[in-house]
């Protein structure tokens, strides 16, 4: 008689491509990214970072009522989006606007939704950051946690029935893995052999709840095996690792008709939302360490610089032009006015 231990001696290893200085490890294998794709990835990561800064400030100034940032998770957002195709149905939680950004949602469209003005596709009915777009195959953000997971499985099943060359891709945080819907979704995805990619952004915190209080398993990745789902743990701050893992996952999901679970280890650099002050429950130097030394945007920049595709001048130019663009959009937003009720 032998009991299976509650945890193995070794934690599941983590797939990485780039070291902290943005240089590939000598023995790492990864899917090659062309210069064009890499530049777009970097541009979008910078745009996402800038958008977060400006819109967060707009909330602080009282111009929008609410906002939440993706700080520290730019690589997960952009690199995963770059590795999938436009036909892949994206079902987000709420910390993945970068995927929509990659697919072409404009700064103006983001701002319209946050300000709830006349041009908002949601007609002022939804809180800020609840983006959605039929055109971009990005299902509207819903506040409820993890409900999108069974939705994604259902959508994936439909794609399989229709024999489409596409899969469903869904995102959630470490907190979301506690929800009943997570278990139902993983279990059913395996049983129905649905082509769905589950991407868990394990950023260490669910509002003030650290992962040590969220689960006692070795993160989210080990839960895949419990349901018969192939899984991998990835360095979430390494854009190339994310890109490779999602790329491979997509091929397996569609080619073999199976679900894949990807756990991306990262850190939530910002507060949970503008209604939160995370310095109240975690040390400021911890936040600063992740924000400065582990910044995924910086790490990727070092890689594209070392390839000769980027330099300091282009960097300054990009940063200032993106900043101007976002500020301009946020300042001109009032010209649209609020939608009035029509009788």
């Amino acid at each position: 008689m032998r009991f299976i231990s509650e945890s193995s001696e070794e934690r599941i290893p983590c797939y990485r491509v780039l070291d902290d200085d943005g240089q590939p490890f000598p023995d790492s294998s990864f899917v090659k990214v062309s210069e064009g794709v890499a530049i777009k990835m970097y541009n979008d990561m910078v745009t996402l970072q800038t958008m977060d800064t400006i819109f967060y400030e707009a909330q602080r100034q009282g111009r929008i009522s609410f906002y939440l940032t993706t700080s520290g998770e730019e690589a997960i957002n952009i690199a995963s989006a770059a590795a999938i195709k436009n036909d892949d149905f994206v079902v987000p939680q709420y910390r993945e606007p970068g995927v929509l950004l990659w697919r072409g949602f404009s700064m103006q469209e983001f701002a319209n939704q946050c300000f709830g003005n006349k041009a908002d596709y949601g007609k002022g009915r939804q809180m800020p950051i609840h983006y959605g777009s039929n055109k971009h195959n990005y299902f509207t953000v819903s506040s409820t946690i993890a409900t999108q997971l069974p939705h994604a499985v259902g959508a994936a099943y439909a794609l399989k029935m229709d024999r489409k060359d596409a899969c469903a891709v869904t995102y959630f945080g470490d907190g979301g893995t506690s929800e009943g819907d997570f278990h139902a979704a993983l279990n059913f995805s395996a049983v129905t052999e649905a082509p769905v990619i589950f991407i868990c952004r394990n950023n260490g915190w669910a509002i003030s709840t650290p992962i040590s209080d969220q689960f006692r398993s070795d993160g989210a990745v080990v839960k895949g095996r419990a349901y018969g789902v192939r899984s991998i743990r990835v360095d979430g701050n390494d854009a190339l690792a994310i890109y490779s893992a999602v790329h491979a996952a997509r091929e397996m999901a569609i080619g073999e008709g199976r679900p894949i679970l990807i756990e991306a280890l990262t850190y939530r650099v910002g507060h949970h939302t503008t209604s939160d002050d995370s310095t109240k429950y975690r040390p400021v130097d911890e936040i600063e360490w992740w924000r400065t030394t582990q910044d995924p945007v910086t790490r990727f920049r070092k890689w594209i610089e070392s390839n000769g595709w980027w330099n300091g001048d282009i960097e300054s130019e990009l940063r200032s032009s993106v900043r101007k663009q976002v500020i301009l959009v946020s300042l001109t937003i009032s010209k649209y006015g609020l939608l009035q009720l029509q009788h």
Partner: protein
Amino acid sequence: MVLLLAVNMVTRAGFSLKQLKMWGIIRQKVAAGGGSPVARIRPVVSNLRNYSSAVKQMMVREALNSALDEEMSADPKVFLMGEEVGEYQGAYKISKGLLEKYGPERVLDTPITEAGFTGIGVGAAYYGLKPVVEFMTFNFSMQAIDHIINSAAKSNYMSSGQISVPIVFRGPNGAAAGVGAQHSHCYAAWYASVPGLKVLSPYSSEDARGLLKAAIRDPDPVVFLENELLYGESFPVSAEVLDSSFCLPIGKAKIEREGKDVTITAFSKIVGLSLKAAEILAKEGISAEVINLRSIRPLDRSTINASVRKTNRLVTVEEGFPQHGVGAEICASVIEESFSYLDAPVERIAGADVPMPYAANLERMAVPQVEDIVRAAKRACYRSVPMAAAA
């Protein structure tokens, strides 16, 4: 103190030092609060009882916090569980200071699964503990509603009295400000339709203290519907209210303002709007009687009917959706018991029959305003006014 194994799983004691160091978090290990409750009594302000003649102001948040504190102090079986209730001091700071005072065995931060922790709470109650389960908002209670109704509410009946479930489910209910459809739903009518549940909804700090204490002491499941916008409002509280033995009876409404021309029923935040409406009506010669329901289930039908028999006119007001709402039940009750006393049709004011929109101008139109109550009262009194609000 004996705790269920299941409850132990969600305490924070015992995680590995390695995990602590991995994240660079050094957590302050809080002293376990398993000791004698007597040693921990810190009566809130009951010492003021004999010495102050000035009326004290108390915020609803403080009222709830003090009620929780006193009940936890008096009975070691009472414990609090929910998301963010411990280290974060409560998503709305209602449980501020309680983790520090009582320790992680009595203030449990739960993982994100309402279905999970509500089930665990009901299990603890089956075993004899007295959990107070907090929902960050009652919108999230929909995840847990199977446990609230099928595991808690019906158990006493289904076991012919052998199982008792002394549990309290509490949290903010209804509309706040600009939080959209999935954060603004009112659940008063939903829960009040279920036999086996008691449903309370406080307005003032006195209500908050007295009703929460009553709920915690009650041997049956109680749904306690608070209001986010009321948390920061202050109300005068008497010395009697501040006493730790203070308690309000469940099932009794309060007449907040006496009147003789029209009865206005309301609960929670709407009581405040109704009182303002009564002031405006008084200037126009209409004396309105405002009833603060306090208890949605059981509904204080005798107080409501006695009032209508006196005034002969009724306006019911609520924030929730109109169909099958609290007002519909009150109207039916009055027609059943006091039909011949009515001099005018019953006026029902409720939230608009749409999912709560986000934009501020749309939200304002979806929630009852003081003017809506005034207009309805006037209609009931046969003063001619336009039916609907101007756009």
